[in-house]
Structures are given as C-alpha cells and as structure tokens.
Amino acid sequence: MTGSAREEILSRVRAAVAGAEAPAVPRGYRREVEASASQLLELLADRLRDYRAEVVPVPDDDAAIAQVLADQLTERGLRSVVAPQAVARAWLAGPAGGEAVQVVVDDGTLTWQDLDGVDAVVTGAALAIAETGVVVLDGDAWCGRRAVSLVPDLHLCVVRGRQVVGLPTEAVSRLQPTRPQTWIAGPSATSDIELDRVEGVHGPRTLVVLLAG
C-alpha cells in the first residue's frame, strides 16, 4: 500500500503548504576565521583536550609520525593495532611493526569480532575543525571503513596541519557529501546517570590525536 500512502502524503503536503512562500535564507554567520595555521593548530589542540582527547604534537613528516606512533603503542602496552592499508604502509611499516606490536591491515575482510580482538586502531583524517574540536573521517584510504575506527577501544588519529580548518562552515564546504562520514569530538561519553560525565561507553574509550604540523 506504500504507493498510495506516498501519493496521499504528498498530496496532503501539497495542499497544506499551497501558497506558502519560501523565505530567502540569510547567511550572515561567519564563513571563515582569520587565523594562522599555527593558531588553528593551537585552538584545535585546546578544544580537543577540553573534550578529554589526548593530543600529541608531532613534526609533519612520515618518519616522525611513524616514530611517535610506535612510541605510543609500546608505551601504552598495546599488543595489536589495526589500520587501513595506506596508514599501515606509511606509518606502521617501520618501528611499530616490531615484535611487540602486531599490525593488522584492514583489507575489507576483517569481521567485527576480529576488530573486537584488536587493542587499537590508527587512522588518518579527512579534516579537522579547530573551533569545535572535531576530527572528521570520510572513509578514504587513510580513514578506512567506519567499523575499523569504531570497534577497537583506543583510537589514534593522525591529523596533518593542512587538514585543519577554522569553522564548521569551512568543513562542510570541503567535504564530499555522499562519502560515509564520522565527525568525532573526543572519546565517547555519557552523562545519563545523574549528569555525571563518564568517558568511554561504546565507542573507543580513549582518543589520541597526533597533530602533525
């Protein structure tokens, strides 16, 4: 009966709004902020920390990123890490791939149970928004499938300086709408019990952002 429901709803909507004028949308809000790259990085770091993410500044080159990742993984005593192919190749092939940490490359066949058995995930990002302390993943070769950055308990996310924008408006105009996206602002959280904030419910309980710039 869906066909007739469709017609009936649409004709009711048409009748209901007949003659209604669509107003012009005033877009007088800020479209960009004037800030240097280093100011944006600083603001992003500040906002991320405010949301209880850990922020680790790194020089913006692959060797340095790989080294810091390796240190992070071993310091935290993590035994396995999953990553999309591009990330594994660029940042996890060297020191991180030593004996201590097993690197699992997501080739698209890992099951949810497989992912649940891995200690951490490393991804890149599509971009980050300084003012709201947000990292956006969009499923590209660096961000990986959404499940990969969701199921493991610790998420290490590498953001490069040129990926940082000031405002949500800038992010929306840069992003490609139909890509599957996850906007992340700190680790998962709940305040459902007497408004007491608890970090880490179902999503990764720890979010570490490596800010390369």
Partner: protein, 509 residues
C-alpha cells in the same frame, strides 16, 4: 462559577487506547502527582540547571549565534514551503544511492512496514539508537507484540527500557532515576550483570558497555531515526554521544531509519548551520562526540562502507495536519534539542511524564496537541495551558519557534473547538474566549500578567479572584504556590539565572 477551568480545561475524557503522544490524564492532574514528589523535583531542578548553564556558556562563545538562529529559522521555513519537492528529491537521491524509501501515513502503517522489513531478514532481535519518531509510533511495543525484541542501546533508554518505564526528558530520558535506583534496575533486569555492581556511574556505564557489546557485534538489523535528511544528496545524519549510534548505523547489514517528513533539509550546505545550532543547544557542547552521515548502501561507495540494505521510512502521523496550520506549522521546525525544556519553569517543576506524551515541555505543549488534533475534548487540549507564557523557550530555541504565540493560538483553537462542539456551557466558553483574546496579543497579555502581579493584594482565601486573573488560576492551583509570585515569571527567571552561578564543568548529554 469556579475559575479553575478557565486557566486549564479539566474535563475528564473518554480514554481512546494507548498513544505515545497522548497521556491518559489531563496535564494538571498528572502534574500534581509530580509536584508532590520532592526527590523528582530536586533531580529535575539540578539537571535542568546544569544543562542550562552549559548551554549558555557555549552559546555565549559564538559571536554569530543570532545569525545562525536566523539562518536556521529561515531554512526550516523554506523547507516547509518546499516540502513536496524536497521529499521527492530526497526519495530520488536515497533510491539512487541504493536505499529503499517507504511512506507511512500513520503509526500503524509505519510499524507494519518496519515489522515486515525485520521479518524479511529472518531476525528476531534488532538494536536501536534513540529516536523520537520510533517512540512516537510505539515501535518497540509493536515489535514486541510481533515477537521481535528491539533493544534500546542509548544508556538512558536502556535504563528506562529495563525498568519498563517511559522517558522523562528528550535528552536525558532517565533523569528521574538516581544512581542507586539505576544500580537496582541493572542488578535485577540486566542479564549476566556482575552481582558486585556498585552505583558508581562509571561502573554502571561499563556494565551497559559489556552487556551491549556482544549484541552490537552480532546484530543483523539496526533501527534509527535521523536528525537531518538532506534532499540534495540523500544523506542522513545521526547526532549522538555514546557511540551506540555509530554501532547501530555501522555494524548491522540492514539499517532501517524512521524519519518524520519534516526532518528534510534542502541542501548539504545547510548542515553548516544545524551542526552548530544543535549540539550547543542540546548538550551544551561545542560539538557532540559523534556524528554519523551516510548516503544509501555500501554499493554506492567504492570502499564498500555502509549497510547492505537501507530502508528509509518517511512518517506523516499527523504532521500534514500540523503543516496545514499557518501558525502551528512552525512546531515542525523543531530539531529536538530540548533547550526549551531546560529553561521552562513549568517543566522544571512537573517533569516530563506530566505531559503524557513522548514530546514533553514547551515543544510538547505545542506539538502533541497538534499531532493528535485539537478537538475540544481531547486530553491533549490541556497542554497549551501548561505554560506561564514567560517566553524563555522562545529565547533559547535555536530555530526561533515562537512557542508562546503558538500556545496562545492553540488555546484559542481549543476554545473554538469546544464552542463548536457545544461541549461546554456557554458562560465557560465565553470566559475562555476572553482569555484567549487577551493572550493572543503580547501587549494585552503583558498587561494581564502585569495586573496579576499588581493584583497580589486582591487574593482571597489564597485564591485569585476576577475574570482575568483566573487565566492563571488553573496553573497556580496545580503548582504548590497558590499565590502569584511577586515577580512575573520572566522577572523571576532572569533573577534566578543570575544567581545560578558560573558555567559548570563540561559534560556530555
């Protein structure tokens, strides 16, 4: 003639079966029960106070908040005016991305569609992310009757579901339970729970994590609503905090989203407005922890990321009736942020359950009666009177819904409906019409409320006397403060807000 009916209709009405948007008792009756529960009032007072302060602090950070509100209001008005074409565009784009679009005229039709879709997968258990639309149609109850278990995965919704209770707030639905009560609920009702569970919030949250993880990993069907649906691209958005939304939207092979027809937005670009307005108004955060955006099925993406099957159920369920009213229409602009609940002096004292609908507070007072229809003798007819018209809701609404004006208009419509049906004595109808006339105009109303304040010495036996002051009597009687305050609500509110202190520590929803 008693004055009480004027401020608030008190007629007892025939019950018409269970409806998630209509309670069994008129507001004043339901409210007086809540008012006699000091623990509930204290919890609510604390919760709304904390969220109010957080909201004020993050809204105050933005120099262009008013511009964002104006844009949000205009986009919503544009959406309503162009709704027929936008719905068709949304349908075309979702379909092109591999999704299937279904249309449901009412709750029964939507429930039947979802039931059939779940049945077709052969599954008997589904995971759900909190959604007002599915609460509105009573989906969980319907699925249960059909032998399908719908598991709520939002922590508060899980608490409420395990307690076999109803949510009391849009954003923090379990705010009426203390940690000790939640510990009891988990200990008794959560299968496999650690018997040594304490009432520490972290321990409780981890118990929920452990309980749900296995179920997320094995779930084959996920059910959600959506905060926004972009006509231009066919993209849906869910805004959340805990990651249960990501789980439900990412892991199951089949995803079913039940979405009110008013949730559509014209353009991708419009998200730049709403993804700023919603989190700051709702949880008082610059941004909520997780926002998921997806378009169709995995077949539409090179990376193969997305559900194998995606179904969008577009829901009317009374919305086209609301849309047909030029004044009431803007109730459909609501983005369910719950800011109006947290500033409402009436909500703060009576709690969500008093409204009898899944939509409580000021937005519930204008949306619920319009969804069920103002008949002159419906239980929901009392909701537009559940307000002091102080205007705080309008001031915080991110899409500038003029809730006080709609309340006044609905009161007038109720009086008219009651007159037409000749269900009330004419004297009452005349008095109510007079009240409605007064309240329809802001200046006239200010004059009345002002006179109420000045009229304080005119109290007799603790009750107000006189035709105009009786506008407020139904309400003041249901509250535990029988006399009008020395200040108007608005004056009192602004004083109180100042005494509330500085912004609290940042927290989640």
């Amino acid at each position: 003639m008693s004055a009480a009916f004027l401020g608030m209709p008190r007629r007892r009405l025939p019950e018409t079966g269970f409806s998630p948007v209509q309670g069994k008792r008129p507001f004043p009756e339901a409210a007086s029960a809540a008012l006699s529960d000091p623990v509930l009032r204290r919890n609510l007072g604390h919760a709304t106070g904390v969220i109010r302060r957080k909201r004020a602090s993050v809204v105050g950070e933005l120099p262009d908040w008013e511009e964002l509100r104006s844009a949000g209001a205009a986009i919503k008005a544009e959406t309503m005016a162009r709704l027929p074409e936008l719905l068709e565009q949304l349908e075309a784009n979702v379909t092109a991305a591999g999704g299937v679009v279904h249309w449901a005229r009412d709750a029964a039709e939507a429930n039947a569609i979802v039931t059939d879709l779940v049945r077709a997968t052969g599954e008997r258990e589904v995971v759900k992310v909190k959604s007002m639309a599915t609460q509105e149609i009573g989906l969980n109850e319907h699925l249960a009757a059909e032998g399908i278990t719908a598991l709520e995965t939002d922590l508060a919704e899980l608490i409420v579901q395990l307690a076999e209770d109803h949510p009391s707030h849009i954003l923090v639905p379990a705010i009426h339970f203390s940690r000790t009560e939640i510990r009891e609920i988990f200990a008794r009702r959560m299968p496999g729970v650690d018997p040594d569970l304490t009432s520490e919030p972290r321990r409780l949250a981890m118990a929920a994590r452990a309980f749900l993880r296995e179920r997320f990993l094995r779930a084959k069907v996920g059910i959600s609503g959506a905060n926004f649906a972009i006509a231009e691209t066919g993209t849906l958005t869910v805004v959340e905090s805990e990651g249960n939304g990501r789980m439900c939207l990412t892991l199951p092979e089949t995803l079913i989203s039940v979405v009110g027809i008013e949730k559509v937005l014209p353009r991708w670009q419009d998200l730049e407005v709403f993804l700023q307005l919603l989190p700051r108004s709702s949880t008082g955060e610059r941004m909520n922890p997780y926002t998921t955006l997806w378009t169709g099925t995995r077949a539409a993406h090179e990376g193969g990321d997305g559900p194998r099957a995606f179904h969008l159920v577009l829901l009317d369920n009374g919305r086209t009736d609301v849309l047909a009213d030029e004044v009431g229409r803007s109730a459909l602009h609501c983005i369910r942020c719950s800011a109006c609940l947290n500033v409402c002096p009436v909500y703060e004292r009576t709690g969500g359950h008093s409204y009898g609908s899944v939509y409580p507070g000021p937005i519930g007072a204008i949306l619920s009666p319009q969804l069920t229809g103002i008949t002159g003798d419906s239980v929901n007819d009392s909701l537009p009177y559940a307000s002091s018209l102080c205007g705080a809701c309008y001031d915080v609404c991110p899409v500038k819904i003029d809730i006080p004006s709609i309340l006044v208009d609905l009161r007038a419509r109720h009086v008219e409906a009651a007159q037409q049906a000749s269900r009330v004595p004419s004297a009452e109808a005349v008095a109510m019409a007079a009240a409605a006339y007064v309240m329809k105009d802001e200046k006239r109303f200010a004059a009345v409320t002002g006179s109420m304040r000045l009229g304080r010495p005119l109290l007799r036996d603790g009750q107000l006397r006189g035709p105009l002051s009786s506008v407020m009597t139904g309400w003041s009687r249901a509250r535990d403060v029988p006399a009008p305050p020395r200040e108007t609500f608005r004056q009192w509110w602004s004083h109180r807000e100042r005494h509330d202190g500085a912004a609290s520590e940042r927290g989640g929803p």
